[in-house]
């Protein structure tokens, strides 16, 4: 085990996979000479060279489209989108090509492709650069959508994403890059994609979260513990496939749930998870499931207004209290 930041964990996963398999390469805006706009690929260009660390034009359809083509020839590209907000420019290639080709051609095409994208707000980048539209991408069968909440998962899940033969959208939250945690040193440390994980055990309330809301939920759980409430925190880790099993198992014990996400509430992750709780465990419901999410506004630039719109640890804490005490 080593203690490292999530940025280092992502970087390490990429580095190790590129060392392990010549077929893995990365491409995107400023991944090379610049070292990555979030410094994830710092040092890669000098070590792996321009063939495997490919600076691209600022042209997202070309970045994702050509990565799809390269994947079809048997390579294992990792295409980096500087932010997930730019994924809309490549939307067709993500949802109409990457998510469809394997199925639509009767299983002939394989796309061992990873698209990495930075998501989330809170950095005063204004409305166009601050979105958390993760749920949109999870809408499409054929694509796998993964988003880690801890440095260890960032390493284990990214390595799995690179090794499997399916297209994976790997979403990293920019404000999590500095968070630290213990990460296994094992070069073959793999976390399964499509498996939710209990990050904290408790019997009183189930808090479902992913990505940035995982540390927030754990923090809220600590606050609740001071009030004598033991919260169980389930980390989705993967939005598609969505693994409900640990959630339902927990809910059948706690009978109360809060679902936290950084994105908007409407048609979001919380909507999906809470609907499934009602479908799968209606007889166990003691209180309506609460959703914690972003205010339904385009994110403003002003720091205070921005934080007012974003879901906070306190929101999760209060939501948990509400589902327990009404």
């Amino acid at each position: 085990m080593s203690r490292m930041t999530m940025r280092e964990a992502v970087s390490k996963a990429l580095w190790e996979e590129m060392e392990r398999d010549e077929k893995v390469f990365i491409q995107g805006e400023e991944v090379g000479i610049w070292g990555g706009t979030y410094a994830v690929t710092k040092g890669f260009y000098d070590h792996f060279g321009e063939k495997r660390v490919r600076d691209t034009p600022i042209a997202e359809a070309a970045i994702v489209g050509s990565a799809i083509g390269a994947a079809l020839t048997g390579l294992r590209p990792v295409a980096e989108l500087m932010t997930i907000n730019f994924a809309f420019v490549a939307m067709d290639h993500i949802v109409n090509e990457a998510a469809k080709l394997h199925y639509m051609f009767g299983g002939q095409f394989k796309l061992p492709l990873v698209i990495r994208a930075v998501s989330g707000g809170g950095r005063q980048l204004g409305a166009t650069h601050s979105q958390t539209p993760d749920a949109i991408f999870a809408h499409f069968p054929g694509l796998k959508v993964v988003s880690p909440g801890t440095p260890a998962d960032a390493k284990g899940l990214l390595k799995s994403a690179i090794r499997i033969d399916d297209p994976v959208l790997f979403i990293e939250n920019a404000t999590l890059y500095q968070t630290k945690g213990e990460v296994p040193d094992d070069k073959d440390y793999l976390e399964p994609i499509g498996k939710s994980k209990v990050q904290r055990e408790g019997d009183d309330v189930t808090i479902v979260a992913y990505s940035k809301m995982v540390p927030a939920a754990l923090e809220a759980a600590d606050m609740l513990a001071e009030d004598g409430i033991e919260a169980e925190v389930v980390d989705l880790r993967s939005l598609r496939p969505l693994d409900m099993e640990p959630i339902i198992k927990s809910f059948k014990r706690t009978n109360r749930a809060v679902v936290a996400e950084e994105g908007w509430r409407s048609y979001g992750v919380g909507s999906e998870v809470s609907a499934r709780i009602y479908e799968l465990a209606f007889d166990y419901v003691d209180a309506p499931v609460k959703r914690v999410a972003q205010a339904e506004v385009p994110l403003p630039y002003n720091a205070e207004l921005e934080q007012l719109a974003l879901p906070q640890t306190e929101d999760i804490y209060h939501a948990a209290k509400e589902v327990i005490y009404g």
Partner: protein, 337 residues
Amino acid sequence: MEKKGYLELYQEMVIIRLVEERSAELYQQGKIGGFLHLYIGQEAVCSGITSVRQPQDRIITAYRDHGWALSAGIDPKNVMAELLGKQDGCSKGKGGSMHMADTEKNFWGGHAIVGAHIPIAAGMALGDVYQGNDDAVTICMFGEGATNIGFFHEGLNLSKVWHLPVLWVCENNIYGMGTTMERASAVSEIRQKAEGYGMPNDRIEGMDVMKIREEVSRVLEKVRKDGGPHLLEVMTYRYRGHSMGDPERYRDKEEVKKWEEVDPIGILRKHILDEEVATEAELDEQDQEAERIVDEAVEFAESSPNPPNEALFENIYVEPTPIEYRGYAMEHESEGR
């Protein structure tokens, strides 16, 4: 080319034409669903190009793909079965008219979003260069209508910047659906767009398969040797509407008739006779053989079973999808239908 080659080329073009004519009938009978875009009139382009490509050359095209599927070497039976949505279709009945492929024939589809396959083609060429397949060229087709969408420009630019071995082929049939080139494109020759990317280019006639073979052989070998992209604009014409639902208000019958006089099959037939490669009777024999093959293909397709219900959940992912998830999906999503 030897006599056998001529006869094969001729027969292939006749098969393509017959498959399309039968498809139109089957569509009108309601046996083919969705959209149906016929290739009739453009046969010289696909047959000319595929007959001079090397096996390592990848072929990728847009939605008007039946001709390409056939000339890439997919059995007419499997093409017809795909049109009818059957299990023996080249895409197992899940792709349909616009999504045919056979990776073993190095035919990579059949892509229905206009221009979206263009950056993908650049990526396939990158894959070959990366893996040291130095003598492979990716041949990517699109209509002139696709050259007005961003994907085209991103793809062309990338292929030039990265010096990728792509032969870009614009099948210019003058109409993007029902809109003429003049009403949709800022330049009157598509090849001019390659100029903007410093890319070598040509504009050639597309009704004479022998001329296409000659030009494409030359360009293909140049791309193979130099490694960089080249754009070829091929002037052709579709005799039928954009799709089966086309009212064809944008052109008159006289125009179609004019082009029918330079029919690509007629041109090849005349060439074969003029050069005394084969006799009229021998060509008639090819016609009959083509008809027999297409009849057989239709029969095969009609008797091929529908894909089983289990196929619905097959090939969503390569990796086995968690049983719990599939169980959930089966149990609940089916109730909602």
